[in-house]
């Protein structure tokens, strides 16, 4: 997205399926990225439009509220929604399914991407569906084509995600040894599954350091999962990194996508952890399914990124909102950050807040990538 080019921006504004009010004072260095915008009564807008499937509609809301988060979870949720879209799809007269369905899917995708920027894994899946649609024979009856597509999607989820994860776990287990101290950052399904498997099935005796950071404290979900399973855990924020790294033996993290220059795009903060581990000469392992491999090359975290809600940064409440709603029902819902230090930040013209979602770890800091194809060096 070239958001700094007025022509492109106008075009993007026009194509938008929903209108929203800008909420962010743009940070100059990131002016080229889609700026975070607050929803402006999305539902009312959408009723008028009609072509967005209800399943996608719900999904879009869930994405924008971060109810569904994480590369795999978002991709699976999207594919399941698309299955519904495809089953409910009726080819309009005068066109064929293989021609029209692609554009129909594209509209759903556009809506989703307006709700929240798509991540690498979703792009791969969308490309896969579109290719499969275009490969459909024009003679195939619509109903057969639809069930074939749904089956293909199921296979994709099974082979590229679930089975891949199983093999990654099998591969990763070889690298977890007795008395290891494993450091991980934030939340990743594959990493938590790997650690749980090592503890429960393999009975390996190791401990985990969970590193977390604001604003969403997703590491607390990781912590809860591991502690509930009986794994010995230490919990720190990024400020405790150098304190803990002295005793850490391995770092295992998840990734959003692996770029073709060997760099890793992942939750913001991963690069900080990887760099410090590299500085302490601790091996860094990245768990990444091959469907997250990307053709693009990025040298830094600027060229492509996602900008989040700046208000998240001024909220100094340290409780993970998801955990809060799940486990501590007694607490009042999301506190309105009115008594925070920066609650009046909008009134100070010179003050800007930057809430990035991803960062790029150069391949230099990564020792190994564990994929379902085996363990590979990040340089490939």
């Amino acid at each position: 997205m070239r958001y700094d080019d007025p022509k492109k921006r106008n075009k993007a504004e026009k194509n938008k399926t929903i209108t929203r009010t800008p909420a962010q004072k743009p940070v100059a260095l990131f002016a080229h990225l889609t700026q975070y915008e607050k929803e402006n009564d999305i539902l009312a807008e959408l009723k008028a439009q009609g072509f967005i499937h209800p399943a996608v509609l719900i999904l879009g809301l869930q994405f924008s509220e971060f109810v569904i988060d994480g590369g795999n979870a978002r991709c699976i949720a999207m594919l399941n929604a698309f299955k519904k879209v495809i089953s409910d799809y009726k080819t309009p007269t005068g066109t064929s399914l293989s021609r029209h369905l692609t554009s129909h899917i594209s509209k759903q995708v556009e809506f989703l991407s307006n709700c929240r920027t798509l991540c690498g894994s979703m792009k791969t899946a969308i490309r896969y569906i579109k290719t499969e649609i275009s490969k459909l024979s024009i003679d195939l009856p619509d109903e057969d084509a639809k069930s074939l597509l749904c089956e293909l999607i199921d296979n994709f989820i099974r082979d590229r995600i679930y089975l891949a994860d199983q093999i990654i776990i099998t591969n990763g287990l070889k690298k977890i040894k007795e008395n290891d101290v494993i450091l991980t950052y934030s939340y990743s399904t594959i990493v938590s599954d790997l650690l749980l498997e090592a503890h429960q099935k393999q009975k390996i005796n190791f401990s985990v350091v969970v590193v977390d950071s604001k604003p969403r404290y997703e590491g607390k979900m990781m912590l809860k999962k591991l502690v509930d399973a009986g794994i010995k855990c230490t919990y720190i924020l990024l400020n405790g990194l150098s304190f803990m790294l002295h005793s850490v033996t391995k770092v295992i993290i998840g990734a959003s996508s692996l770029l073709s220059n060997g760099a890793i795009m992942s939750r913001v903060g991963t690069a900080v952890v990887n760099m410090m581990a590299y500085d302490f000469k601790i091996p860094v392992m990245v768990c990444c399914e091959t469907y997250k491999f990307s053709e693009s090359v990025r040298l830094d975290s600027f060229v492509w990124n996602e900008i989040g809600d700046p208000d998240e940064l001024i909220n100094n409440n340290i409780v993970n909102p998801l955990i809060q709603s799940q486990f501590i029902a007694s607490r009042q819902p999301k506190e309105q950050p009115s008594d925070e230090i920066l609650s009046d930040w909008r009134d100070i013209p010179q003050l800007k807040l930057l809430n990035l979602h991803y960062d790029v770890t150069p391949s230099k800091y990564i020792t190994m990538v564990i994929t379902e194809m085996g363990m590979i060096p990040s340089t490939r």
Binding site: S213, C233, N239, F243, M275, D279, S301, L342, L351
Partner: protein, 346 residues
């Protein structure tokens, strides 16, 4: 006695961490020392040294992490010794010997004559009190002195990164902003969120400021021209004992070849070496990291919230002190200049 009360008061303030600002701790120690000298009846230098040392020991042990207290005691002792030797030399009509420092290769063969501190001189105490007055002046103006050097190191349109809320750094940046336009990126510094205070202060002073969470330090570093930090203490080898997170920001700067500048008052320079790194990692209550109402998980998890951490000298490019800029490898020179070797251990 009034004096005893004053000593006890400062000790209890230090113990309860009511003085967390090391600048305040330094000034209050210096004032107390002036009172101590004035109240001591003896005019003998060795008596003064003993008294200062005795009270100094109590103050230092009240809050061992507040190294500036010990530093000020050392400065006062150095003043006493300097003033005394000057008088002695004048009395003996001796030209000041080069060098007077006791730490050189000279002692290998030439034993420097030990100074007898037991003589009494008229006016000597007044000279010491004047010396401490100068020290207090220095402490009160050091921030401005450092800030005045800002334009030598900040150029226009620069992007500067900092973290935490160091008064020295804040004054430094604000001074530069009077004549230069530049941007500052402030890391939030969880869990204290002091970075937010800093960001607000800088932005209110008209500097274009961007607040980022600590997690974005690496992502943004590639566009940063300079990292400017404050520090709690500087060790004798030029290392820092700074707020937790400083090492991360300095390491990120190292991998981007970005210079790291540390603004620091001379009074923070301590003759200690980082013998035991963990000794300096003061861990504070984890409730800033994990609240108690987040469930029973707390009992099963180690939650660690370090307050300070050690930053090795190779990560620092330059120190800006109130007596001018110094590279980290030469910090020991300042040590020899402002402290007496015999006082390194109080």
């Amino acid at each position: 006695m009034v004096l005893d009360n004053q000593v006890d008061l400062l000790i209890s303030k230090l113990k309860r961490r009511q003085i967390v600002n090391s600048g305040q701790a330094a000034i209050q120690t210096a004032y107390l020392m002036r009172m101590v000298i004035a109240a001591t009846k003896s005019h003998q230098a060795d008596k003064l040294i003993d008294t200062v040392k005795e009270i100094g020991k109590r103050l230092v042990s009240a809050q061992p992490m507040e190294l500036v207290v010990g530093n000020i005691i050392r400065r006062v002792l150095h003043i006493i010794r300097e003033e005394y030797t000057t008088i002695v030399r004048q009395e003996q009509n001796k030209i000041p010997q080069f060098p007077s420092s006791s730490s050189t290769m000279f002692n290998l063969l030439e034993t420097s004559d030990d100074i007898d501190y037991s003589n009494t001189f008229y006016d000597f105490k007044q000279l010491v009190i004047d010396g401490i007055k100068d020290l207090i002046d220095e402490l009160e103006t050091q921030e401005q002195n450092i800030a005045n050097q800002a334009l030598e190191h900040i150029h226009s349109n620069e992007i500067i990164m900092t973290l935490n809320n160091s008064g020295t750094v804040q004054a430094y940046l604000k001074q530069a902003a009077k004549t230069r336009t530049f941007q500052v990126i402030v890391a939030d510094t969880s869990p204290t969120h002091e970075g937010q205070v800093m960001a607000k202060a800088l932005a209110s002073a008209g500097i274009e400021t961007t607040l980022i969470p600590d997690s974005a330090i690496f992502a943004v570093m590639s566009r940063v021209n300079k990292v400017i930090l404050g520090s709690h203490t500087v060790t004798a080898n030029g290392g820092l004992i700074a707020c937790a997170g400083s090492r991360t920001i300095a390491t990120a700067a190292k991998y981007h070849s970005t210079p790291v500048v540390v603004c620091i008052g001379l009074y923070k320079l301590s003759p200690q070496y980082p013998f035991d790194i963990e000794e300096y990692n003061l861990c504070v209550s984890p409730d800033q990291v994990y609240t108690y109402d987040e469930g029973d998980i707390l009992e099963k998890v180690d939650i660690i919230n370090p307050y300070y951490e050690y930053v090795p000298p190779e990560l620092v490019s330059l120190f800006i002190t109130n007596v001018g800029p110094q590279p980290p490898t030469y910090m020991y020179r300042l040590l020899n200049e402002f402290y007496s070797k015999e006082d390194f251990e109080i």
